[in-house]
């Protein structure tokens, strides 16, 4: 972070920053997610690039004041490209002692620490495991720029005349924090005031209370003696166009809507509620006008099989879940492989195994997507790199599934699902066409007659006269589709299904290399680690190192040019939030001595750590 002093305005110094990393942390009931989202909207309005990281407990109402009940929202915003929500914090807002205890270690020395003193009472200190009030420890104020603010008291004071009860009044204190931090970072309040107006349109008392408290926090920053300076982050240089905030799950849903509109083939989405995938079902259910039909199925298996039934009927069947649900769908996905029907499977990866860490992110389902079914059961696997990229990948998954008549996985993750970024809105007309041809011609029809280019079989809608036929999970004779137990036919079909998936490589554009085309090190990533890897690689490049990175969207099949690219570098590093899955595939596929960088903490990879791993591998010159 570079800081340059700007002329002081009034009594307070205003300093310009390139970027800042802020985390709001408090109790589950403190409204930290909302506070963070509003701060994000304000920053987007200010024209900054940004990335967010919501982090909350799996419990809906975790016991108040506890360490495990702490909820937080982090974002990085800046005047240049922002790839990640940031590693270390410039500013931490800790609404209670538990939040301080959990998050203080991430605050940079000298960082801004803002606490709500009213919450630091004996009860909360006990629950957080503090024997003494940490705010009274002089070391805290020496190490950080500590600001002790009685947010609860000031909040109550600002709205004492409103006819709300004490609890209702107390609930608005998060907007005091928002107002204060908005002042510190010179954020516009308009988007939040708009939001309050809409949200509480039917409840003017709450609208008034939240407005007053927000403004009180802002004014407090301006007038209180304790804040000697505040900051400004210029608008980022971003490609021209119209932007909106986009989360990964919404982008997946909208990608499907776009695919349905473009292909003119209806989509049926089958799902069973599961964190962190449920919001896709909820989003799609709001858009019935797009002829998207959603089935909240009785279980994960029914969700997948209902989608397959829809595909048999001539719709695009889509199912979505997280790792545990994907495990349950395995047999059904195998049916789509052998029946050769389109099926799109969203896997919003989370920490595992078993229930694991439902609200935390992970990238450990790559092997499950590729190999997690009985027998030889190949499927196409794609992975989006950013929240907004989910839109394009969902669309592409439908296009490939329909063209090749096969299952296509989309491996998103908890970080992409809930994280948001400013997203340049595309012109839907520029999306590639999805040209679905249902066979109606009787002459020469066989259910497994293959297209010579794609090896895909004809898709026939039931209701088409003269093309009545039967398919199923038993091995079939190629072309005729009749049941066949012939050994050579089975061997042929196993190879044909694999070859069909391999031919999807025809669809993959040349790989974009971020950096030199040849050099000391290539960093290979996939999925939600794009930001962390890119930031680390650009930092290493700026430090003069011979490093490039590529980020794979296509994981099965792999890009046709990948083998060649890998050999252009002395070393290959593969950072993943798993214990080494893509690295294993690359080693097996290309006999390349790639090494992994693996952290499985339920959190995005820290850019700093990847940077260090790069240095370790090719030697630091610093």
């Amino acid at each position: 972070m570079s800081e340059t002093a700007a002329p002081a305005t009034g009594a307070k110094t205003r300093r310009e920053l390139d970027r800042a990393v802020i985390r709001f942390a408090g109790d589950s009931g403190d409204g930290m997610q909302l506070t963070g989202e509003q701060f994000t909207t304000e920053s987007a309005w200010a024209g900054n690039d940004l990335a967010t990281l919501p982090n909350f407990p799996a419990e809906i109402r975790a016991p108040a004041g506890t360490l495990f009940g702490v909820s937080s929202f982090q974002l990085q915003f800046g005047s240049q490209r922002v790839y990640t929500p940031g590693d270390r914090l410039d500013c931490l807002v800790a609404m209670n002692p538990a939040a301080l205890k959990v998050h203080l270690r991430d605050l940079k020395p000298g960082g801004l620490l803002i606490v709500n003193t009213a919450a630091y009472d004996k009860r909360n200190l006990d629950k957080a495991g503090y024997s003494a009030n940490p705010l009274d420890d002089p070391a805290l104020a020496e190490r950080y720029r500590l600001h002790k603010v009685d947010m609860s008291g000031l909040t109550h004071e600002a709205i004492k005349d409103l006819p709300l009860n004490a609890k209702e009044k107390d609930r608005t204190k998060n907007f005091f924090a928002l107002g204060l931090v908005s002042w510190i970072y010179t954020r516009p309040l308009e988007p939040t005031l708009d939001w309050i107006g809409k949200k509480f349109a039917k409840n003017p008392q709450f609208a008034e209370a939240n407005t007053r408290v927000l403004k009180a926090g802002h004014a407090y920053g301006e007038t209180a003696e304790i804040f000697s300076e505040h900051y400004e982050i210029e608008a980022a240089e971003m490609p021209a166009g119209v932007y909106r905030a986009m989360t990964g799950n919404r982008a997946l849903a909208w990608g499907l809507l776009a695919a349905a509109e473009r292909s003119k083939v209806p989509i049926v989405y089958g799902a069973y509620p599961i964190t962190p995938a449920s919001s896709i079902l909820e989003e799609l259910a709001m858009h019935k006008r797009f002829r998207i039909r959603t089935i909240q199925a009785e279980d994960e298996i029914a969700a997948a099989t209902a989608a397959i039934g829809a595909s048999f009927g001539g719709a695009i069947g889509v199912t979505g879940s997280s790792g545990p649900g994907i495990a349950l769908k395995g047999e059904a996905i195998g049916l789509a492989v052998t029946a050769e029907l389109p099926l799109v499977i969203f896997d919003i990866q989370r920490g595992g195994p078993s229930t694991g860490l439902p609200t935390k992110t992970e990238q450990a389902d790559l092997m499950q997507a590729m190999y997690g079914r009985n027998s030889e059961s190949p499927a196409v696997v794609l992975a989006p790199a950013t929240p907004g990229d989910c839109f394009y990948v969902a669309y592409e998954a439908v296009r490939i599934a329909a063209k090749y008549m096969c299952p296509v996985f989309v491996l998103s993750d908890g970080f992409l699902a809930n994280g948001s970024e400013p997203w340049l809105i595309p012109d839907p007309d520029t999306l590639p066409p999805i040209d679905v041809q249902f066979r109606t011609e009787k002459e020469g029809f066989f259910p497994y007659l293959r297209d010579p280019a794609t090896l895909s079989r004809p898709w026939v809608r039931p209701g088409t006269p003269g093309l009545e036929h039967r398919i199923g999970g038993i091995e079939k004779q190629d072309v005729t589709g009749n049941i066949s137990y012939d050994p050579d036919n089975h061997d042929h079909m196993v190879r044909t299904r694999a070859e069909k998936v391999r031919r999807v490589a025809q669809e993959i554009p040349p790989t974009t290399i971020n950096g030199p085309a040849t050099g000391d090190l290539l960093v290979v990533g996939w999925g939600g680690t794009y930001g962390s890897i890119t930031a680390a690689v650009e930092r290493a490049q700026a430090a003069g190192r011979s490093v490039a990175s590529i980020h794979l969207r296509h994981l099965n099949p792999l890009p046709p040019d990948l083998g060649h690219i890998l050999r252009e570098y002395r070393k290959v590093l593969v950072p993943e939030i798993n214990s080494g899955q893509l690295v294993r595939v690359l080693r097996a596929e290309y006999l390349v001595d790639a090494v992994g960088f693996n952290r499985v903490r339920g959190l995005p990879l820290a850019s700093e750590e990847i940077f260090e791993a790069i240095n370790q591998l090719i030697g630091s010159t610093a």
């Binding site: 909207t41 987007a44 309005w45 024209g47 988007p191 971003m238 490609p239 021209a240 166009g241 119209v242 932007y243 909106r244 905030a245 909208w254 809507l257 509109e261 473009r262 209806p266 049926v268 089958g270 858009h287 019935k288 006008r289 797009f290 002829r291 089935i295 199925a297 009785e298 298996i301 029914a302 099989t305 209902a306 397959i308 039934g309 829809a310 595909s311 048999f312 009927g313 001539g314 719709a315 069947g317 059904a332 049916l335 809105i425 012109d427 839907p428 007309d429 809608r461 039931p462 209701g463 088409t464 003269g466 009545e468 036929h469 039967r470 398919i471 199923g472 999970g473 009749n482 049941i483």
Partner: protein
């Protein structure tokens, strides 16, 4: 996609014969299997549906019965074990214009697929379910099934099974099924009639067919096969008719003793005290579902025929309402909706 009733078509169906519904595949059930009679009856019932052949789909799971679609010259999908109800639900949601039959067995439908059976029935998806109940696992060579009697000795239960059987009719009624009926594979005329009734029902039509597995569980339903036994036990349910059964010289009646069904000599009760069958009375159907030999007669026929909202109809109505209120969706408009900002 249209919201028309299942199988409805703009043009009337051609005049079909049974032969039009026979596929070119060799039928591979064991010689003497009860499935042959059911297949023949189903093929024979098809022309009467008045639905173009291309609008008919047979869906099945896994098991002997689930080979059924291969032998029907219609659209067909032989899927995975137990999941046919979910496949059929997805198909109907995508294509409410199709007439969908689901063929399953006691293991496929009530064991591995019991959960899906529960939900397809409560949703009242507009399909016809044919459940072949032979009280045994045939395809896996003779293990006991969820409808096998307690103490059933099989290869997997050499000292007898320890779990009590599920009653398919009671299960279906408990799940809120709107049409529940039973027939017997060896009673062709009755089977014909029940197939017609089940297929004509709007909503889920659930038909249990007592079926013989002559290899692994021969004569499990002998109570309904043996001429003498059948004469003593068969209770033909007919709407508006009293519950009378047994040979003419020894007619018996099922009457209510409080809330408990009881068998009495027919001539010992007055006409007004007879239990008159009412297909629209689900509570009565639930009592009938539990009757079985030897202490009671075995009811065959339609136990219940009622009406309820159909899952995919409700879904389509919502879709049409959404479109009529706000117009069809447009991705270009959606992308630009809500908070957006311009750069450059």
């Amino acid at each position: 996609m249209s919201a028309q009733g299942a199988g409805a078509a703009a043009t009337p169906a051609p005049k079909y014969t049974k032969k039009d519904f026979e596929s070119d595949q060799d039928v591979r059930w064991c010689p003497g299997c009860g499935d042959y009679a059911i297949l023949s009856a189903v093929q024979k019932s098809m022309p009467d549906l008045g639905i173009p052949r291309e609008n008919i789909v047979f869906i099945s799971g896994i098991g002997c019965s689930s080979r059924f679609p291969y032998y029907m010259n219609t659209y067909g999908f032989h899927t995975i074990h137990g999941r046919a109800p979910a496949i059929a639900t997805g198909l109907r949601v995508a294509r409410p214009d199709l007439k969908v039959f689901l063929v399953t067995g006691d293991g496929d439908g009530l064991s591995i697929g019991g959960n899906h059976m529960l939900h397809v029935l409560r949703r009242n998806v507009n399909i016809t379910i044919l459940l072949f109940n032979n009280r045994i696992y045939g395809l896996t060579k003779g293990q006991y099934s969820p409808t096998s009697e307690l103490g059933k000795v099989t290869k997997s239960t050499p000292m007898g099974s320890a779990d009590r059987p599920v009653n398919p009719l009671a299960f279906a009624l408990g799940c809120g099924a709107t049409f529940v009926a039973r027939t017997v594979d060896r009673n062709i005329a009755h089977m014909d009639e029940m197939l017609k009734r089940a297929a004509a029902h709007r909503g889920t039509g659930f038909l249990e067919i007592l079926q013989n597995c002559n290899v692994y569980n021969d004569l499990a339903w002998n109570v309904m096969y043996d001429k003498e036994s059948r004469a003593l036990h068969e209770l033909r349910l007919e709407h508006g008719k009293p519950l009378l059964f047994g040979p003419p010289d020894a007619r018996k009646a099922v009457v209510m003793d409080g809330v408990i069904p009881k068998v009495v000599e027919a001539k010992s009760v007055s006409e007004s005290a007879l239990w008159v069958h009412d297909e629209h009375n689900v509570n009565a159907a639930k009592l009938l579902a539990d009757l079985f030999a030897p202490h009671f007669p075995v009811p065959i026929g339609v136990l219940a025929d009622t009406e309820a909202p159909i899952y995919e109809d409700v879904m389509l109505q919502q879709e049409q309402r959404a479109i009529s209120e706000r117009g069809p969706g447009s991705i270009a408009k959606l992308l630009m909706s809500g908070d957006t900002w311009k750069i450059g």
